[in-house]
Amino acid sequence: MATPALDITNLHAWYGESHILHGINLRVQPGQVVTLLGRNGAGRTTTLRAIMGLTGARKGSIKVHGEETIGLSTHRIAQLGIGYCPEERGIFASLTTEENLRLPPLLKSRRGKVMSESEIYAMFPNLAERRASPGTRLSGGEQQMLAVARILRTGADILLLDEISEGLAPVIVQALARMIRELKKQGFTIIMVEQNFRFAAPLADHFIVIEHGEVVLSFPAADLPAHQAQMDELLSV
């Protein structure tokens, strides 16, 4: 079996004094699309941030393409080929749209496809129109597109996408869904955090449910019907 793109064992993470992740185990094969589900505050965002080394203290093991990253600093982790799209989008107010787009440098390990700027603008025509305006003047949806677009041109092959459909109009969500399918075809490994199950379900190869900082359920897409009841219980409000 090939080296997993991402292999997490017994991951603990803290924010200051609050212990948020209590031993997450997670393995993602290259080219897979995995969706993390869970209630608000379950720890999904924290899982992604922990992968990037952005939480407080971390313990356990996180291997990216077989390389241990728990002791690395954030930029080294990113350079292994991870593109991160944060929940709060992280569009820089003091940068124009174009500067935002060009901010992440091309990674040394360019495993994934490197999209050219024109390809990106073709995929998100809105951004092309507004390339000169300050990043935070964009609408929420446009900002979301920008946040995703930004990491596509770097050559990262593992994408961590945190609630990218959040707060977007259905058309755009559909566009994003098309985009993810396209990325999947191109061989990207994708880990998505989603509230919007309708959006995530048809895209994912694998589902993982997190509750109170632990993985409580993990199954391939094919087994979805079998886990329906359990899912209802875990995710219903």
């Binding site: 954030t74 992280g90 500067e99």
Partner: protein, 295 residues
């Protein structure tokens, strides 16, 4: 002759121009402080000492290596930048997680050490440094005789200030810097080595101070203590400007130089307190400073 407040207009213009010369120094120094503050969140008390170091390096280059002003104008900032890298790597980097005050105290300590070292080697009465040959002499502007060197100081520092402004506001490197001040963590998550960027920013900021030092060497006393009084005035400039923006610090620096210049004409005794008075007034009206962002 036209007069304004009893001063002939041409004389007044002359004084304004001289104010601009001083303003250029303020602008370069407060710009360096602002750049450093933006990335490191540290008020660099050592800025004055590094400015002095720049001037001294210019003198040492000439004295020991026979390198002229123009060479040292390039080399001294690089050398001081290297000193900055050492300071940041060995000391400052341990302070980022602590209260800002420790940064202030540490750089204060660094100031004393740097000044102490230069004092113990070179004494205090200063070293001679001549205006470079190409710039000796003066030009009659009609309303005043402006030494060529002063004109050069204004031009050089305006070019440098606006080059730095352009670098930060208009280039991709600048974009990284700006992004880094907004959200360093995320920038790092894009694979950018933010710690290194921070180090280089500090080096760049102090190199600016050194550049100002070299510019000052021919017109001021090159001595160990030349930076220690200046830095406090520059602090006041920074409080007035508010560290809000790059352009803001440049404009505040220039503006205060001019204000000071005018005071030298109308009430010379107060010329080194006027900046503090302006500071008090600005604080009353706009606590965040002229260009500062409200918290």
């Amino acid at each position: 002759m036209t007069e304004l407040f009893g001063i002939p207009l041409p004389a007044l213009l002359g004084q304004l121009l001289l104010g601009l010369v001083n303003g250029s120094f303020y602008a370069m120094l407060s710009l360096g402080l602002a750049v450093i503050f933006g990335m490191l969140n540290i008020i660099n008390f050592a800025h004055g000492a590094l400015y002095m170091m720049g001037a001294f390096f210019a003198w040492m280059g000439l004295e020991y290596l026979g390198l002229n002003y123009w060479v040292m104008l390039g080399l001294a900032p690089i050398a001081v930048g290297l000193v900055g890298i050492v300071i940041e790597r060995t000391m400052l980097q341990w302070l980022y997680k602590l209260d800002h005050l420790y940064g202030l105290l540490l750089t204060f300590g660094i100031t004393l050490v740097i000044e102490g070292v230069f004092r113990s080697f070179y004494g205090v009465s200063g070293q001679p440094y001549q205006v470079p040959e190409q710039l000796t002499g003066a030009t009659n502007l009609g309303f005043m005789i402006l030494p060529n060197y002063r004109a050069w100081v204004v031009v050089a520092s305006l070019i440098v200030c606006f080059a730095v402004w352009a670098l930060i506001e208009k280039t991709s490197l600048g974009a990284k810097l700006r992004a880094g001040t907004e959200n360093p963590k995320l920038v790092q998550a894009f694979g950018i080595n933010v710690p290194r960027m921070v180090t280089l920013t500090y080096a760049g900021g102090v190199a600016l101070a050194a550049f100002a030092g070299v510019l000052a060497a021919p017109i001021l006393q090159v001595s160990a203590l030349m930076g220690s009084n200046l830095i406090i005035v520059v602090f006041a400039v920074v409080v007035i400007g508010g560290m809000g923006s790059i352009l803001g610090s440049i404009l505040t620096g220039l503006g205060l130089g001019i204000v000071e210049g005018l005071t030298k004409v109308f009430y010379p005794e107060a010329s080194n307190t006027v900046v503090f008075v302006v500071m008090a007034i600005v604080l009353l009206v706009r606590p965040a400073g002229l260009f500062g962002k409200e918290k």
